[in-house]
Symmetry: C2
Subunit: 485 residues, 2 copies
């Protein structure tokens, strides 16, 4: 093809040039996905190395896509940590799957902003339909309002803003929290194992870090419901106003599951908003035999599940469900004249900008819709199931091998363990030993693991969640763990 090498004086890249470079980009991605193992999973560059290889000053004149793509390969690729590789087992592994990438391509080509129904009816309605599909697939009862945000941190922030707004006697949206003798200190409860997103939300909302009461966990790292109730009672006596409880289904550290049914009882008894962080664990419920992990969540006021964690959806796609969309809307809706439309009062078609702080909204449901159709509910369940099976296999090896110990129960696809040689009981020495193992494996380039602390002990995490991670990868990992350094 005789493509255009330089942009015109005005206008966009010519559509035929886009076609040419688009094919090349597709080839690049297809080759990358086929040959992911050629790269070390964890980037090996030093701080500042990528920056140092890029020009200090912006380009004055146009450059060719060929030059730009050559720099992707030469400059950027050495600095990429490969989240999309089968050997990525850190944090919670995720996937930009084929149909998900195709969905993102289409979304960027259309480039609609789904802030109002009117500004692309298909984007708002597809988001509603797809999230109702997901609700059904997870076994959650209707009606349940869903909206896509960028991250679980945003979803939790919005949920807790709704919880705060639900204290209707305080009129917080209107009057704020500051300088008011009629507003007591507010309290949000979460377990010691809960994600820092709750603390960040409390900081942002003006509730403050001290407004988060951390509830102790039991031997399996689950929130102790009895202690939750005691804390609420004590706070009430001391003049705090309890506001919300954040329960977690699949904590980030070890994937423990808080006792949501008992927590829901307590929330009902004391009139508190129940928010469930199922950002990672919730996706498991798509496999019918795993639905029990969401037991009690049908009683939650709000619930977050991230398809960009374990439903093979490219970043970003976090779903906030709520049984109280009117409260969520009351916390955020504010419609200036230039955004008023004939549909504003139509409950049939929400304006999704009304349910959070962000006005602009990408067409993120497209990728999730394509993934749910391309794999089908059974195909998604099969992949979730296989990840859990691989995690159980690894857990069995750890249990069966002297000198290794599991550090937490394996509920999903996350395995937390450490090497603990017989006779070595100095905790600092054990921490260093395990940190060395993790660093050795990460340095190999074949895998990337991350760590946590369980009961203050250094713990290696193996988070299986990338759709391309196969049994032989986990076998290879176990071999590498055991091989001498």
């Amino acid at each position: 093809m005789d493509q255009q090498q330089q942009p015109a004086a005005l206008g966009d890249m010519d559509p035929e040039a886009f076609r040419h470079y688009g094919y090349k980009m597709v080839d690049w991605i297809a080759d990358y996905l086929a040959n992911g193992k050629e790269y070390p999973v964890l980037a090996r560059v030093k701080p500042g190395e990528i920056r140092g290889a890029l020009p200090i000053r912006p380009p004055e004149e146009p450059e060719t896509m060929e030059a730009i793509m050559a720099d992707v390969d030469r400059v950027l690729m050495p600095g990429i940590t490969h989240w999309n590789a089968p050997g990525f087992l850190a944090y919670f592994a995720n996937t930009g799957s084929g149909p998900g990438i195709l969905g993102e391509m289409l979304a960027s080509g259309l480039n609609v902003n789904a802030m109002l129904w009117l500004t692309s009816p298909a984007a708002t309605e597809l988001e509603q339909v797809t999230l109702d599909w997901l609700r059904q697939a997870l076994g959650l009862p209707a009606p349940l309002f869903g909206v896509i945000n960028d991250t679980a941190s945003s979803s939790t922030l919005y949920a807790l803003a709704a919880a705060r707004e639900a204290l209707t006697d305080l009129a917080i949206r209107q009057k704020g929290l500051a300088g008011r003798a009629d507003v007591p200190r507010l309290r949000i409860y979460a377990s010691q194992e809960a994600h820092s997103a709750t603390d960040k939300a409390a900081m942002t909302l003006g509730i403050g870090q001290e407004g988060v009461c951390k509830i102790a966990t039991d031997g399996e790292l689950r929130m102790d419901a009895a202690q939750l109730e005691q804390a609420i009672q004590r706070d009430r006596e001391e003049g705090w106003r309890p506001c919300a409880v954040v329960a977690t289904v699949g904590t980030t550290s070890t994937s423990s599951i808080d006792p949501v049914p008992q927590i829901a009882d307590i929330c009902e008894k004391y009139g508190l908003w129940l928010h469930v962080d199922a950002a990672y664990g919730g996706s498991a419920a798509i496999a019918p035999e795993m639905r029990r992990v969401l037991d009690g969540c049908e009683r939650a006021d709000s619930l977050v599940i991230n398809p960009h964690k374990w439903l093979f959806t490219p970043m970003d796609c976090s779903v906030l469900y709520t049984r109280k969309p009117k409260v969520l809307k009351a916390a955020f809706s504010l419609v200036p004249e230039f955004l008023r439309t004939a549909q504003d009062q139509d409950d049939e078609v929400p304006n999704l900008m009304d349910y959070g702080t962000s006005l602009g909204r990408r067409f993120r449901s497209l990728k999730l819709w394509m993934i749910m159709r391309y794999f089908g509910q059974e195909g998604l369940a099969a992949r979730i199931r296989e990840h859990c099976r691989m995690a159980q296999w690894l857990a069995q090896q750890i249990n069966a091998t002297p000198g290794y110990e599991l550090m937490a129960p394996v509920h999903f696809s996350l395995v937390c363990f450490r090497l603990h040689p017989q006779g070595m009981d100095d905790e600092q020495q054990l921490d260093e030993l395990n940190e060395d193992i993790m660093n050795r494996i990460n340095a190999s380039g074949r895998f990337f693991l991350s760590h946590t602390r369980v009961n203050d002990r250094y713990t290696i995490r193996v988070a299986i969640g990338n759709i391309r991670t196969m049994e032989h990868d986990i076998h290879a990992l176990w071999d590498m763990v055991q091989s001498p350094s």
Copy 2:
């Protein structure tokens, strides 16, 4: 090609199948961009129509990409409002340009999460380099820390959280705002014409809508600096604690420009954080003769510019600049064990999750980097200039034609006007007349305009900003405005 029609039992779409469907998707987008005029710009569907055409239940079994893409054409496309079409002149028009779409493709293929430097050094460092390029292109002095967020609403929320945190004696992050006798009511100042993002941020931050003091504007819809100072003095006397001023360069309603140098003087005098909302207008400064629009912004504590508005970048890409990154980080940084890395204390390489609420971060700098290189600084300036020229042409027609009037000065590429026939002075009648004109034009399918109210009068907005909008489009619009209904 003999592609795989169905997904395998496990794993992702086969890379060769991805290549096949990727080509088809590129063809779809290239054809769409070439033939955008075939669709009505504003979707014509009724509320619920798209939803009604989609299955109520999720698919159990896998479906083919052919079936999915057929539904894109059959079901979704009638419900798309075409932001990427040359006739889109509503709100602030934007563009998913060719190099920007290619950048999004690559970002979704790599699917990295740039929360920590370590989790993809290239993503963090390219973001720093690209935002420093943009800073230079806009003529802003170094050092200036930049970070990409999803929207200006988030950027403004984060900036005002930093402003709140800058009241260090109050320790708000730690202690919150509620139930404290030592915290007075807080006040943020913005003009009556400022974007609702400031109100939403105040609501979210616990400052409340009443904590936003709206300053009157002058005859050109600019914040009246003298009234700002009076309001600050009055508030101080009445026990409020002034916290921040939000000035706007290019208001959403009419693109007016607040007197930033005078406002900066006042902020300095009273020790207030100055945040500048240049989400739309800031991009103009890339044309050297337009740099004056950012006069005074070198003194701002923070500044937001959205490349996804007027720098041809697909949604979403909002840049928050700040001269006080340590304060922004103090408002948000919270690092749990599982995210601790060896680089945490390294000022050389920030962990960008520390500068806002969202933990997960897409590789959004890729598209902006590709756009800045593909068009070059001069190419971007030429396109900005051409948009401004077209807006001036339209303004001249309006001024030269009896019965039409400009409703606000044309500083950038936004034209606000109405029909005002001689002798018709009933304001309600004029409102209806102009609403009818806008509705007639929008119903034509050729253009999509939006409206505002200027001095409470219904005003038609023509927002030129899509890279594909050409002179002949604006000529055709002016013909259509004047043609009998």
